[in-house]
């Protein structure tokens, strides 16, 4: 038993992408046998991946270590064979932040696969759907765990192709095709600029490994160009205003189970942005300028996201704009941390912790709201809020889940959204009180958005016939709701055991580098 755990831990970084990838291509074969077998198989693969990720997370969070894995070498840990100046093989490097994002990605993917059991039952071409969902999981896990720039680009493209294809899954609806087209155009342009930046860095330093590049980077003119290209394109993929326009389209038109997977994909892009700023360019003081730009863009995201959300009349689109505002909060925390990275003030660390904590909170809250939106659509075949009403009478459980999610998104105590937003407010207040005031006001407007949905969809006279949704959908929502309540009631346990190691791993650039280059 101990041996198996040891093997899983040693080969864990490879297995977390190998298992879902293997499952993805086995799915079409299994679905020729039986639909039910395929669903069970997909959930089992997701569960196995989740298990390995959690095992790795336990090891990394308790020992505060970094797991590296060298593909195809004689030993997994042999990153730099003797006689080599740079690592030549593809290296996966998983530190606290990587595994933190990995947990988010695989948890949302697992919930999505459970939710799809009933939600997607009546659709055609489900073998392709599940294959793409597993590929999307592979892409996200690869993005967060890779330590190689070109490999990162490949996983970025896998993620965008899989998620665009999933957005376009309902092929007969024109709107979903339109959303998918916008998404794939923007993400492929973004990815090409990422590749351009990778090529610039490769041309200067002859290396693709992030740790090696971070060690050698000198901040020449071309490095500035690469930094701008990386920040702009990854910021677009993360949905920062004013490059967020694809996000409400894609979130709103995709099936709900796909939407929560894309939420995780967006956050994986945000992770990449953070990783590039803090680790790749972490030794250069000018990167603080990027922090100030991120603060400005974050304020724009929060304000424009929440005011646009008030205007919407479509259930999912409204939550999508609220998600834009939530992205603003994360970027605000990260931006404050980056702007003050070199002053090493205690509240800059708190800001980074708040931003990272808000990433997982946003994934759970917005994910739960999208699942409820999907449940309402499943029960009523209706998405416009004007035509909904009185759902609380017949969809009791979904209503409770909606209240939990809405309070959490709006940052009401004692939900988890409040704890992370409090961390962000207090640290931004130290930078400028105006920022904190605007952020708090926007949070109140978010509550107004949620009240609008609750008032028009769940209260009032019943305008549509509805019955509560099947059990598997309720289970999927219940998992997220339980996690929200747990994170809300015990924020300290989460912050101490997960968020703090992740933030420390982000700030300590030297550890990341020495893990590959061996104490250079």
């Amino acid at each position: 038993m101990v041996d198996i755990i040891d093997v899983l831990l040693t080969h864990g970084p490879a297995l977390i992408i190998a298992v879902p990838l293997f499952g993805a291509f086995l799915t079409p074969l299994i679905s020729r046998l039986n639909d039910k077998a395929r669903n069970i198989f997909v959930i089992a693969v997701m569960g196995l991946t989740e298990f390995i990720v959690l095992l790795l997370a336990y090891d990394i969070f308790t020992t505060n270590g970094v797991h590296t894995y060298t593909f195809g070498s004689k030993q997994p840990l042999l990153t730099l064979p003797s006689g080599y100046l740079v690592p030549v093989r593809i290296i996966f490097e998983i530190d606290g932040l990587s595994i933190f994002m990995g947990i988010i990605a695989v948890t949302l993917a697992l919930v999505a696969s459970i939710y799809s059991w009933s939600f997607m039952r009546k659709e055609d071409g489900l073998d392709k759907y599940y294959t793409l969902l597993l590929l999307l999981t592979t892409g996200m896990l690869g993005m967060v765990s890779t330590g190689d720039m070109f490999n990162f680009f490949v996983f970025l493209e896998i993620t965008s192709i899989a998620s665009a294809a999933l957005v376009a899954f309902r092929v007969n609806k024109g709107e979903s095709q339109e959303a998918a087209f916008k998404y794939i155009v923007l993400s492929s342009i973004g990815a090409l600029f990422v590749l351009f930046a990778v090529a610039i860095l490769y041309g200067q330093y002859d290396a693709l490994n992030i740790a090696t590049l971070a060690n050698r980077i000198r901040y020449t003119f071309l490095d500035k160009v690469a930094l701008v290209l990386l920040v702009a394109s990854l910021g677009m993929k993360a949905g920062i205003v004013p490059m967020h326009m694809w996000l409400p389209d894609a979130y709103g038109e995709a099936p709900a189970s796909v939407t929560i997977a894309i939420v995780a994909a967006t956050q994986a892009s945000l992770y990449a942005l953070i990783r590039m700023c803090f680790t790749l360019y972490g030794g250069i003081t000018s990167v603080a300028t990027i922090g100030w730009i991120l603060i400005i863009l974050a304020m724009a995201s929060i304000f424009i996201g929440v005011t646009m959300a008030l205007l919407q009349s479509d259930f999912k689109r409204m939550i999508a704009y609220a998600a834009v505002a939530e992205i603003g909060y994360m970027v605000l925390g990260i931006g404050v941390g980056l702007a003050l990275l070199f002053s090493r003030t205690p509240y800059s660390v708190k800001a980074i912790q708040g931003g990272i904590f808000h990433i997982i909170n946003d994934a759970l809250d917005v994910g739960l709201l999208f699942l409820v939106a999907g449940a309402v659509f499943y029960a009523t075949k209706e998405r416009l809020l004007d035509r909904l009403g009185g759902l609380a009478r017949n969809m009791r459980y979904s209503t409770i889940f909606f209240i939990i999610g809405a309070l959490a998104v709006a940052g009401m105590p004692p939900m988890n959204g409040f704890a992370s937003k409090l961390l962000i407010y207090e640290s931004t207040y130290q930078v400028s009180p105006i920022l904190a005031v605007v952020a708090i006001l926007a949070s109140i407007l978010l509550l107004a958005v949620m009240v609008k949905i609750f008032h028009s969809a769940f209260m009032g006279p019943p305008l549509v016939k509805a019955a509560d949704v099947p059990k598997t959908m309720l289970i999927a929502m219940a998992i997220l709701a339980a996690l929200i309540i747990f994170f809300g009631l015990f924020p300290n346990i989460v912050v101490e055991n997960m968020v703090k190691p992740a933030a420390d791993a982000l700030i300590n650039q030297a550890t990341y580098i020495s893990q590959v280059l061996g104490g250079v």
Binding site: F150, A164, E175, E178, F181, A199, Y202
Partner: protein, 114 residues
């Protein structure tokens, strides 16, 4: 100067591609614009590995031992493969859009806004 021409071509290709995506209103032309950007980036990768008077990095019957750098070529190849997948996906979505909108004009492809 002569060695900088490929880099100038790279920048021009990327700018032409971006201009195509921004100013052309036909869906197919937007896809073409993206492939132009992609070829610019690929050209950049290939140019990085170039050495004067050297041969392709193939050891089978190699005439001399001076070779160009193979890694950027591998990268460009991977990027081409990904580009094929992206283009196939974009064109398939384009077919479906034409089915439901009866047009390829992005100015009329605006059911989702605000």
């Amino acid at each position: 100067m002569i060695y900088n021409i490929p880099f100038i071509a790279v920048v021009l290709l990327i700018l032409v591609g971006l201009a195509t995506v921004i100013f052309k209103k036909n869906l197919i032309k937007i896809v073409i614009g993206i492939t132009i950007i992609e070829s610019g980036v690929n050209l950049f990768l290939i140019t990085l590995g170039y050495r004067e008077n050297s041969v392709a990095p193939i050891y089978t019957f190699a005439p001399s031992t001076k070779m160009v750098l193979p890694v950027p070529q591998a990268l460009a190849l991977t990027s081409i493969v990904i580009g094929v997948a992206v283009m196939a996906l974009m064109l398939s979505i384009g077919v479906r859009i034409y089915r439901s909108y009866k047009t390829l004009d992005v100015r009329k492809m605006r059911r989702l806004r605000e």
